[in-house]
């Protein structure tokens, strides 16, 4: 097995020349590509299909093993006993649908145009270095979306305004704590506690006619929906290990946000039922 720190360098100035053994470089590229897909929230099926598509274009037989936090990629030409295997840790990029879509698109561009490894690598580097969506933009849109959720569940305009403010406050706290490297479970607990406590203002000050809807929907932005959906898809596709890993991760986060919500209600003396 090859360690991931192989000396694969694409040098555009020299016409995309590849230094070192090409098999190792291709294997490393495919492993890194798969690790980014895994990190940005792609299902195992998508990771396998996309990576296999590119390996086929590069002229290699291919197999992949996807673990909850790592991927193993093996490529070979004729003799599987001489396969090059590379392991790569899942990229810590967070759920990112834009990156997920662009990485998938890359595999189709490579397949449709028969691009070589070096060009694919070059495009891959550009894709993963794209600046993420602005935090303030995310804050505004997520708050509006959560306020809309409140409306869908029957909340009035006052409840929507309360949810908007509580989501803004909780999500900003989540962004700050995440940027500081705090444990994700603590982040979820704190964000849900403060969002629930702020939205409980509807009850405390008797604002609007549906304060209970505002309280219930104020923490919806924290529900880890993508891991839950991916877990079901992985389970249907018989990737049980990844499926259970994702569902347990999501379950732990759901418990944390529930604890925060309950703590907020308990401290403010609200009735549970």
């Amino acid at each position: 097995m090859t360690k991931t720190s192989a000396t694969c360098e694409v040098t555009p100035s020299r016409g995309f020349a590849v230094s070192g053994d090409e098999r190792h470089c291709v294997a490393e590229f495919l492993a890194e590509y798969a690790s980014w897909l895994l990190g940005c929230g792609a299902t195992c099926q998508r990771i396998e299909k996309n990576t296999r598509r590119m390996a086929r274009v590069f002229g290699y037989n291919f197999d992949i093993s996807i673990m909850p936090a790592h991927v193993y990629v093996s490529i070979w030409r004729e003799n599987a006993a001489k396969a090059v295997t590379v392991m790569h840790k899942a990229a810590a990029c967070g759920i990112n649908f834009a990156l997920n879509a662009s990485l998938s698109r890359l595999s189709w561009i490579v397949a449709d145009n028969g691009l070589g490894y070096a060009t694919a690598m070059c495009r891959f580097r550009k894709m993963i270095n794209v600046k993420p969506t602005d935090k303030w933009e995310v804050l505004l849109l997520a708050s509006l979306a959560n306020a809309s959720f409140c409306r869908l569940f029957g909340g009035d305009l006052v409840a929507m305004a309360i949810v908007f403010v509580s989501t803004c406050a909780g999500l900003k706290l989540k962004q700050i704590m995440t940027a500081e490297g705090r444990d994700v479970r603590l982040v979820f607990l704190c964000a849900s506690f403060f969002s629930a406590a702020i939205s409980a203002g509807g009850h405390v000050f008797s604002l609007g006619t549906t304060p209970e809807v505002a309280l219930g929907t104020s923490v919806l932005y924290l529900i880890p929906g993508v891991p839950y959906i991916n877990a079901v898809i992985d389970m249907l596709d018989r990737h049980y290990l990844c499926a259970f890993s994702r569902v347990i991760d999501a379950f732990v986060l759901t418990v944390c946000l529930s604890v925060g919500l309950c703590a907020g209600m308990l401290i403010l003396g609200l009735k549970w039922f």
């Binding site: 403060f194 702020i198 405390v204 401290i267 403010l268």
Partner: protein, 72 residues
């Protein structure tokens, strides 16, 4: 004023101050650090309570680098 109202005001005020500090004052400090003013502030800063992150918990005195390449 009922107990719930007092608790709500305390929580909301705490969160408001925290966010304002982190978003505006924190940014100012980082800006000051870039211009070499952070050192003076650090000396006068009093840490009553501090929550450590994972890197600090696993840091061992005598390590060549406190920057671990695994910390991403």
């Amino acid at each position: 004023m009922s107990q719930s109202v007092v608790i709500w005001i305390v929580i909301a005020t705490f969160l408001f101050i925290l966010l304002v500090y982190k978003v505006f004052v924190g940014k100012h400090l980082v800006h000051g650090h870039r211009h070499g003013h952070m050192h003076r502030f650090k000396k006068s800063q009093l840490h009553v309570l501090e929550i450590g992150n994972e890197r600090e918990m696993f840091y061992i005195n005598g390590d060549a680098n406190d920057e671990d390449e695994c910390d991403v």
